[in-house]
């Protein structure tokens, strides 16, 4: 190519280099100057133009950049003598990609390939373009061309991968796999294969077509030697045999793997599965979610006769015994756990009673009970035991552990394990309150007692017994649940804050505090702790759920915005760069990663949280600008008047949405938007009800986001109809509302009502029933905000359609204006006066915030739209007839509604002001008196006081310098103060919102006075 002769795109390299150097060092102004000079010298060089376009794009001048790059493209096309070199094309490609015009980049390469056949550089570039566009078919065609031209194995595999992608991620039929197989077969016959990854792809192509025998044959032939790691090869062989149904052979293979790597747990499960001819782990592999593997209790073996079952199980036992014998010196744990699995299967088959399984757990406990992972190791096995048996097991574990107290760290380990098993078993809800209290005290005592063990640890390392404080705080939360005594909540907070004083890196404590503080109305503080978790990159996808839902319904708009912005930026960046990384995998011949990357990108693209974040960030913008209709309209304009979200909402039902949240890190009791365990007892649940509720939660998240995605459009249409209705009313030749707008609004209201669970007509009845006092607001269920939104949009629609005829109440027919006024007043003041707002927890505060920032805000917009349209426009003088506007029924309605709405917001503001003004001392007193001893030595505060005693008597020599110093800095008053300040900051943010609304409503009143 040109550069071989010291030319870059036909220009001497020495002229080009400084420009690239300037771009690299981000001196864009300098780069622009130089590239302009270069262009003056080479006005017809597409490369010089492309360079300038690149610089312009980097400077943020996207429009200019696009026009310059289009010039370059035109030149490239027009001029036959122009050098169409790779450098020019790739530079242009960069610019187009950055400008989000992949199509233009592709067409350049298509043109180049059309002009110069068989130029490998161009074809490679074109293939890359198709990878970026996820055009699998065209990828395939291009790769085949390259393969035909160069005959290289890798291009064939590129084509094969492209075919696989069509089947797995596109809409290609499975028949295509036959084509891929044929291509490979032909190539293998003439050239064989030379890369392990190529073999893996070949096998996967066969496996996808259920041609297990063929795959096995290839694997055991000469090609099989490509897989250097023996165990890897055996694992594939075992899987193929099992899927083929040849369980005996598969079992033998897995046995071999176990001999080579005796602690491969998954392999043991496969081995046992094959012996028992249980194909569930193979069949489910395809359908199950790789992120949240289902905990399956069931096994399939009903088809086995008693005799066969017995002999297979005894075969397994023999193998396990052999493993035991071979590895006895090494104390490998797999054989122990293998016994558990064997006993579990026997139990499920009906071969033994619970005792054998319990015995096996006990044996495992004696050897490994001190390890932190013991509980999670045995969790799945305990699932098959009844609650009584679990309780019995716990007792047996307890009594067996008393005989072990050789080493203090081990002793601590056993203690923790027993407490964890208790939590896991989930019978704590049955224990008497004083026993729970004792348990929390014991855990904290043990924590303190064990601190000297951590004396010499690096400050960053986790402390021995760190889990104890999380567990103690979980027990305290449960005590609150049982007694409704909020002192336990404060105590839980104190315990965790104490733990963080000792070691500030304990993320488990921070997560718990995030939830406790959110729940107790100190969201700003919760947010602080969340930030301390340093959640970034992919963790935002899995961890944000700890804070995001609370934030979205709060008054902390700036912080919510930050969260959403960071998250969306991460996702968008990944979705943008993922294709480049896929191409990297192609280039490095890691074909299996190509498939994986594309599938992963799709998984993230369909993430429910991504969906929620996109919808919510727009709604947040709408909330933030609702006090000013012009600003709101410009937001709406940027949102394409909500049309896009409407499409999104239509798609939600048909799309398979993914849920990538990590629920393991979430304590069982944490409230979620649809379930709050702290509000009432749920029999039998004291630990991880996560799994059972997953599906429910997922459905509810989708329902909410589907409805919310209608909001921008509903708001837009409501503003339109409100304005049209005024013109219709007041102007002689007033334009009547566009019937399309009206019918769309009606259609959306109908959909909205359906999402609330009603037909449009019934929903209208519900709102009018509540507003007239016929029904209480309980008729709205948990979704008061959703209903009020409905009422607001209903009123807007009715302004122009006049279709709604509300039922008579005491002889008069209320207008939809009145319905909205009454509902806003009623609901907002009702929620505000609830006891729970003044004491704890402050869950309802978020409902109040939502009522003010959503339905009330949207209604204010409707009124703003009306008033704006009734104002004399521009320089036009008031027409003589317009004087009676103010007395028209519509004007009166609007005036009344402005009056009523501002009255409501003023009430809320007054109430907030009152709470904010309350003295800090008073609040601190309340907190500490809730932790005081009650004379009978029971109730909240026992753990708290224990910690106090510990600090007053700490032994510096025993604890070491660092821990002693940290403990000395412990200040409960500071914690309480921070908490109170956090609550206050949340209320203040809300007050600011209210004040802004009051101001905007006052302005509206003044404007009306001018009419």
């Amino acid at each position: 190519m040109a550069s071989k002769f010291g030319l870059a795109g036909g220009i001497p390299e020495r002229r080009v280099r400084p420009i690239w150097d300037a771009i690299d060092s981000r001196q864009f102004k300098n780069a622009l100057k130089q590239s302009t000079a270069l262009l003056a010298k080479y006005p017809n060089s597409p490369y010089a133009l492309a360079l300038k376009a690149l610089v312009l794009e980097r400077m943020g001048k996207c429009d200019e950049s696009l026009s310059v790059s289009l010039q370059a493209k035109d030149l490239l096309y027009q001029n036959d003598s122009t050098l169409m070199d790779d450098l020019t094309l790739s530079t242009l490609q960069i610019v187009f990609q950055r400008l989000d015009r992949l199509d233009l980049a592709t067409s350049c390469y298509e043109y180049a390939c059309g002009k110069y056949h068989n130029n490998m550089d161009h074809m490679m570039g074109l293939f890359n373009c198709y990878v970026r566009e996820y055009s699998f078919v065209k990828q395939q065609q291009t790769a085949i061309k390259m393969y035909k031209h160069a005959g290289e194995e890798r291009f064939l595999l590129w084509a094969v991968c492209s075919i696989q992608l069509q089947v797995l991620c596109g809409n290609g039929g499975e028949k295509l796999l036959l084509l891929a197989e044929g291509l490979l077969k032909k190539h293998v016959a003439s050239h064989s294969l030379h890369e392990p990854e190529a073999l893996i792809v070949y096998i996967s192509i066969l496996e996808q077509q259920a041609k297990y025998g063929d795959a096995l044959e290839i694997l055991s032939g000469t090609l099989g030697s490509l897989l250097v790691i023996e165990v890897d090869k055996l694992r594939i062989q075992g899987r193929l045999l099992a899927r083929q149904g040849d369980y005996t052979a598969a079992a033998q293979i897995y046995k071999k793997v176990l001999e080579l790597s005796p602690d491969d747990w998954e392999c043991f499960l496969h081995y046992l599965g094959c012996l028992l001819e249980d194909d569930s782990s193979w069949c489910n592999a395809a359908s199950s979610d790789p992120i949240h593997p289902q905990k399956s209790v069931d096994c399939k073996f009903s088809h086995l006769t008693d005799e066969v079952f017995n002999s297979r199980i005894s075969e397994a036992s023999t193998s396990v015994k052999k493993l035991h014998a071979d590895t006895s010196v090494n104390l490998i744990r797999c054989p122990y756990l293998a016994n558990l699995e064997i006993e579990r299967r026997k139990l499920l088959y009906g071969k033994n009673n619970n005792d054998e399984l319990m015995e096996a757990v006990l044996e495992y406990f004696l050897s490994f009970g001190h390890l932190a992972c013991f509980t999670s190791d045995v969790e799945d096995f305990l699932l098959v035991l009844s609650l009584d048996k679990k309780t019995e097991l716990l007792e047996r574990l307890k009594s067996s552990s008393t005989s072990h107290s050789t080493e203090s760290i081990k002793e601590l380990g056993w203690f923790i394990t027993l407490k964890k098993i208790q939590e896991l078993i989930g019978n704590t809800y049955k224990l008497p309150v004083d026993e729970l209290e004792r348990s929390a005290v014991q855990m904290s005592e043990m924590y303190c007692k064990s601190l000297p063990l951590s004396k010499d640890l690096d400050p960053q390392e986790s402390i021995h017994g760190e889990e104890l404080l999380s567990m103690a705080s979980n027990v305290l939360v449960q005590l609150f649940w049982r007694t409704s005594n909020y002192g336990y909540f404060m105590e839980a907070i104190m315990v965790l804050e104490f733990g963080l004083t000792v070691r500030r890196h304990a993320w488990q404590y921070k997560v718990l505090l995030v939830h406790l503080y959110s729940h107790l109305g100190a969201l700003p503080l919760a947010y602080e702790w969340y930030k301390a978790l340093d959640v970034k990159n992919i963790l935002m996808e899995t961890v944000s759920h700890h804070i995001l839902p609370q934030m979205l319904v709060s008054s902390l708009w700036v912080e919510s915005n930050n969260l959403l912005r960071d998250y969306l930026r991460f996702m968008d960046d990944h979705l943008r760069e993922s294709a480049d990384l896929t191409f990297l995998a192609y280039r490095h011949r890691n074909y299996s990663k190509v498939i994986e990357f594309v599938q992963f990108k799709e998984r993230l693209q369909r993430s429910s949280q991504y969906l929620v974040a996109r919808v919510e960030s727009s709604i947040l913008q709408l909330k933030q600008n609702a006090d000013n209709i012009e600003e709101e309209e410009s937001v709406l304009e940027n949102l394409k008047c909500g049309v896009h979200f409407l499409e999104l909402s239509n798609e939600i039902g048909s799309k398979s949405v993914t849920f990538n949240e990590d629920w393991q890190s979430r304590p069982w009791w944490t409230p979620t938007p649809d379930k709050n365990y702290l509000l009432g007892p749920f029999a039998g649940i004291s630990y991880c009800p996560k799994e059972n509720l997953m599906k429910e939660r997922e459905a509810s998240i989708l329902g909410v986001v589907e409805r919310k995605s209608l909001l921008p459009r509903l708001i837009y249409l409501s503003i339109q109809t409100a304005s049209a209705c005024v013109k219709e009313n007041f102007e002689v030749n007033g334009s009547i509302c566009d019937p399309k707008v009206l019918s769309e609004l009606k259609y959306l209201l109908d959909r909205y009502a359906k999402m609330l669970g009603f037909s449009l007509r019934d929903a209208i009845e519900v709102v009018s029933g509540v507003s007239s006092g016929l029904n209480s607001s309980e008729a709205f269920g948990a979704d008061m905000v959703g209903w009020l939104n409905f009422a607001v949009f209903l009123n807007a629609w009715n302004l122009s359609s006049h279709e709604v005829v509300l039922p008579d109440v005491n002889g008069c027919r209320p207008s939809t204006w009145q319905v909205v006024n009454t509902l806003l007043k009623k609901c907002i003041l009702e929620v505000r006066s609830m006891e729970s707002l003044v004491c704890y927890p402050q869950l309802d505060l978020s409902v109040l915030v939502q009522l003010v920032t959503e339905p009330l805000a949207w209604h204010t917009l409707v009124m703003q739209s009306c008033v704006r349209s009734s104002l004399p426009s521009g320089k036009k003088k008031k027409r003589s007839g317009s004087a009676d506007h103010s007395t028209s029924p519509l004007s009166q309605d609007i005036r009344g509604s402005v009056q009523s709405t501002s009255g409501v917001v003023e009430e809320v503001a007054k109430w907030l002001g009152h709470h904010i003004k309350k003295s800090e001392d008073e609040k601190l007193d309340a907190i500490f008196s809730s932790l005081e001893a009650n004379g009978r030595g029971e109730g909240p505060g026992q753990v708290f006081r224990l910690l106090g005693t510990l600090i007053s008597s700490l032994n510096e020599a025993e604890l070491g310098d660092r821990i002693s110093q940290a403990m000395k800095s412990w200040s409960p008053v500071d914690v309480a103060r921070k908490f109170v300040a956090g609550q206050r900051a949340g209320l203040s943010a809300f007050l600011r919102i209210c004040e802004s609304k009051i101001k905007s409503l006052q302005a509206l009143k003044q404007q009306m006075a001018q009419v």
Partner: protein
């Protein structure tokens, strides 16, 4: 040279998002301690790390010693050196820990590199990090026929340094202000079978600066 970056291999790295290996701290969440049960091992399935594991390693990565890199960092490793990126899974499909690394260099400096190794607190003190390290060494040695394996560690991270020494690593040289221009790093090495005379691990006498490093 700049424009070569745009055309080299047909792949363009977004200019603003440079993948800097240099600024990456080496993370060790594993500490060797005296109370090890000798040779006790955890039942474990070690397999290649895959993208979905990124969604499952939360509890490992929330630990503050473990860095969560950006996506292109992980995916570049997966795309280029999938054999050097392994994850250990325990019962209940829990992620116990993982190791990521690469192989690079020319001639006698062809070597395996450990970029990060981390073990979840729940599974620490069970020699899992050792097992993961051994795997990477094996692959460097047997599959890629490298001369040595190296890694960088904060000079202050005594427990980790001790652990690596136990695993046969020696301090090859000190890299001044390697970590965010502040803390020194230690370049530790372990010779593999191909380096018969163990030339690769003869310690350098003087410390080097980050820009003197051959590979970042």
């Amino acid at each position: 040279m700049g424009h070569h970056r745009a055309c080299k291999n047909g792949l363009w790295k977004p200019i603003g998002v440079t993948i800097s290996y240099l600024a990456v701290p080496f993370n060790v969440s594993f500490r060797a301690r005296s109370f090890f049960v000798p040779n006790s091992r955890k039942m474990t399935t070690i397999r290649r790390f895959c993208c979905n594991d990124l969604l499952r390693f939360t509890s490992v990565n929330l630990d503050h010693l473990t860095e969560t890199f950006n996506m292109s960092f992980y995916m570049t490793y997966l795309a280029r050196w999938p054999d050097y990126f392994h994850v250990a899974e325990g019962p209940g499909n829990r992620i116990m820990g993982y190791i990521m690394g690469k192989v690079e260099g020319q001639g006698e400096s062809w070597h395996g590199h450990v970029t990060a190794v981390t073990v979840s607190p729940e599974y620490r003190r069970q020699q899992l990090a050792k097992k993961l390290m051994n795997l990477l060494e094996d692959i460097s040695d047997k599959i890629d026929k490298a001369y040595f394996v190296d890694l960088f560690v904060r000079a202050s991270n005594t427990p980790a340094i001790k652990m690596y020494e136990k695993l046969g690593y020696v301090i090859y040289r000190r890299v001044l202000r390697y970590y965010s221009g502040e803390e020194d790093g230690l370049d530790m090495r372990k010779a593999l079978s191909r380096d018969v005379e163990k030339k690769s691990i003869i310690p350098l006498k003087r410390p080097v600066t980050p820009d003197e490093l051959e590979y970042d």
